[in-house]
């Protein structure tokens, strides 16, 4: 192996890899060490990601690489193999310095990995973490003696306060190019368990805070109760606390739309800007509050140590449906929004478990489905039935998800159950700085990847719904508007004519032609062509269905309630009729539509997130396919059974 190019002659960059067991606090250390944004970088020739951040130390630039946690240099998962190949310098330049992150509380097992790292022959610097925890739990460590025994630079750090970072940066830069010393060889040769016990200072092993907390949180009865409470609180918080922010995003969207409307003349450009781009951007940004909150909460739970307890409590249950305890976080998160849920699936080590989790996550009823449920339930059911149906709609996700996951793990993702063999970290207070940096990184990633896809999709649907523009319609409505008699009702009448004109354009647009063409597909589910168009328009983002239905139903309303200025979508849906005056909507159709929305994959952002997290188009395509097929089957089944029972539409 050739020695690394020494800094100063070739480049001023020092590449340092953070290596350590899972949960030692590498990520906190990275955040404190560099304080700058993380940049996901792919390992050369693979899709495995590592996180890199830079910081200046004097005239040097320190490039800190955060690697996935490893327990030994024997790779088992794909991520571990890539990590270890990188450390060995196979197929790529190895890091200049290895920064071994070592938890002071469990030196016995830590030193074994350190021993293996020392044998790689790179300069090693040890960052000792969680010394405070070790002292509190009655196992303090004689750090000077440990350093002497190891023969490599050792820095005591604190991942919560950020103490020791200057010393660590200096030690790393100082270690560049250092040849292996005899002392390091000594450390590599020594028995790690003996070293660990030799440096342990006498301390009183006592019942720690973690023991006391676990006595409650892992209790046979209180443990599951506490978990249910935590889940409920998390869900509620994401759902309610994000609401004012969501309203703010929508308000900004409205203001921007109005501002553009004031400057740009009515026409294709204005419509494209307002209905296409501003709406598209809005439907991207509207996810940001939820993503930020959820990733923040998940990070807090994760770094406090509670997530491992949740995994422990749920492993048995989730294993029955072919998932793992670790699937719990992504799946719960997905009830608020599937995108942060999918992003949080990275905590699942096994690739098959992870993909199965990602693929079923969008089945959980996210908050964007709620408006559809609310409109349809309010229109066709009394409040008590509506509440019950809402509960059932929320249950569709987990029940279907269990079947899909089980099926996948028995077929395409068969075999290789990931072992649990998981460390349960000591409880600790999460560092707000680390939480903030994680949230910022997740939001940025979402805006860049999902943002571009959803914007594109929204503009395409806008164009399909806008074109072609018939000059005949324009002439007719221009004449009608001009003919409105002056008076107190003139403005309302003109607005009504405008809405009618928009609906007529939409009805002869490409989107509507498409809707009518595939109407036969949805006819068995009881859908009218307008519902089909609504469903089509909702494919980039299911938020689009309510406004689309509103536009499409504005025609019929004017005939039914000529007196009312704005009858509202609820009334409009109830009184909607087809060309021959027969009703097109009733409770059964509403039910079949809601089931369709509950199961269907109608969110370009989610598919983009799946693509990002699985590094292939295969899984987003599969998710889209199976969810849409399932949604159609269930909607048809509901309508056909209901119709057979006599609840169908009159023929």
């Amino acid at each position: 192996m050739t020695p690394p190019s020494l800094a100063g002659t070739v480049a001023d960059d020092v590449v340092v890899a953070l290596v350590g067991r899972p949960n030692v606090g590498k990520t906190s250390l990275l955040m404190h060490l560099t304080g700058s944004a993380q940049r996901p970088v792919n390992f050369p020739g693979t899709s495995v990601e590592r996180v890199e951040s830079c910081v200046r130390v004097g005239d040097r630039r320190l490039r800190v690489v955060d690697l996935p946690g490893i327990v030994s240099l024997h790779a088992q998962s794909r991520d571990e193999r890539v990590t270890i190949d990188y450390l060995r310098g196979e197929g790529t330049a190895p890091p200049d310095v290895l920064c071994a992150v070592v938890d002071a509380g469990k030196l016995g097992v830590e030193l074994r990995l350190l021993q293996q790292l020392a044998r790689l022959g790179r300069p090693v610097v040890v960052a000792l973490t969680k010394l405070d925890v070790a002292i509190r739990s009655g196992a303090p460590v004689d750090t000077e003696r440990l350093q002497r025994a190891l023969g490599v630079p050792l820095v005591v750090t604190n991942g919560f306060t950020g103490d020791g970072m200057d010393a660590l940066r200096a030690a790393v830069v100082g270690a560049v190019g250092q040849a292996r010393t005899d002392a390091a060889d000594g450390a590599a040769a020594r028995d790690p368990a003996a070293v660990a016990s030799a440096v342990r200072l006498p301390g009183r092993a006592s019942r720690t805070a973690t023991d006391r907390i676990d006595a409650v949180l892992l209790h046979k009865l209180f443990g599951p109760l506490a978990l249910a409470l935590v889940m409920l609180l998390m869900f509620q918080l994401v759902f309610t606390a994000a609401r004012p922010f969501v309203a703010a995003v929508e308000w900004v969207q409205g203001v921007c739309g109005d501002a553009i409307a004031a400057v740009v003349a009515d026409g294709a450009l204005r419509s494209c800007l307002v209905d296409g781009i501003v709406n598209g951007l809005g439907s991207v940004f509207v996810f940001v509050p939820q993503i930020a909150l959820l990733i923040g909460l998940v990070t807090v739970l994760e770094s406090s140590g509670y997530m491992a307890r949740a995994v422990f409590l749920l492993d048995r249950l989730l294993r029955k449906v072919g998932l793992t305890g670790r699937s719990f976080v992504p799946l719960t998160s997905s009830f608020a929004c599937a995108i942060p849920g999918i992003l949080s699936s990275r905590i699942i080590a096994d690739e098959r478990d992870r993909i199965a989790t990602i693929v079923v996550a969008p089945l959980m009823s996210c908050s964007a489905r709620l408006p559809v449920y609310v409109v349809l339930l309010a229109a066709f059911f009394d409040p008590i039935t509506a509440g019950l149906l809402l509960f059932l709609l929320y249950m569709i996700g987990p029940v279907t998800g269990a079947f899909v996951a089980l099926l996948l793990r028995r077929t395409a993702l068969r075999g290789g159950r990931s072992p649990l063999a998981m460390e349960m970290p000591v409880y600790q207070r999460p560092s707000l700085r680390v939480v903030w940096l994680q949230v910022r990184a997740a939001v940025r990633q979402f805006l860049v990847t999902a943002g571009t896809v959803i914007l594109l999709a929204t503009v395409v649907v806008w164009a399909l719904g806008y074109y072609p523009r018939s000059p005949a319609i324009a002439r007719r409505y221009a004449a009608a508007t001009a003919a409105v008699p002056a008076g107190p009702d003139a403005d309302a009448a003109r607005a009504r004519l405008h809405a009618q004109e928009q609906a007529e354009y939409l009805e002869q647009s490409w989107l509507a032609s498409l809707g009518k063409a595939i109407q036969p597909v949805f006819a068995p589910a009881g859908f009218d062509w307008r519902h089909t168009v609504g469903v089509l328009a909702a494919f980039p983002a299911r938020e689009l269905v309510v406004p689309t239905l509103a536009t499409l139903h504005s025609l019929g309303d004017l005939e039914a309630d000529a007196g009312a200025a704005d009858p509202g979508l609820t009334t409009a849906l109830r009184h909607a009729t087809d060309a021959r005056g027969r009703p097109t909507m009733n409770g059964l159709v509403a039910l079949s539509m809601m089931a369709f929305f509950a199961l269907c994959s109608q969110c370009a952002s989610t598919l983009a997130a799946i693509r990002r997290e699985t590094h292939s188009w295969k899984w987003p395509a599969f998710t889209f396919g199976y969810m849409t097929a399932l949604a159609w089957l269930v909607a048809v089944a509901i309508y056909q059974v209901g119709d057979w029972l006599g609840y169908g539409l009159p023929r």
Binding site: G108, V109, A308, V311, D315, L420
Partner: protein, 83 residues
């Protein structure tokens, strides 16, 4: 009490301690268990079990390790003399 020769971590009762004799098998799981600190001579204590009795939570080397029951059954132990 005389213990059976093939006693494993899965047989421990709550708060019971034992010393690791070896890990059965030569596959990835066996290697992972050793990497997690379960090498011969290490003292292990069962802390508790999840509701339903699986997985199990152990203490070794001063840290807590969660193992599924079938994973724990791969680790053969000798009884720890009462201390």
């Amino acid at each position: 009490m005389q213990l059976p020769a093939d006693r494993t971590l899965a047989h421990l009762g709550r708060r019971q301690r034992a010393r690791v004799r070896d890990v059965v098998g030569d596959d990835d799981l066996a290697r992972r268990l050793v990497d997690q600190g379960l090498w011969p001579g290490v003292e292990v204590e069962l802390l508790t079990a999840a509701p339903g009795g699986d997985p199990l939570l152990f203490v070794l080397h001063g840290f807590r390790l969660a193992l599924r029951r079938d994973e724990a059954a791969r680790v053969r132990v000798d009884a720890e003399p009462a201390s």
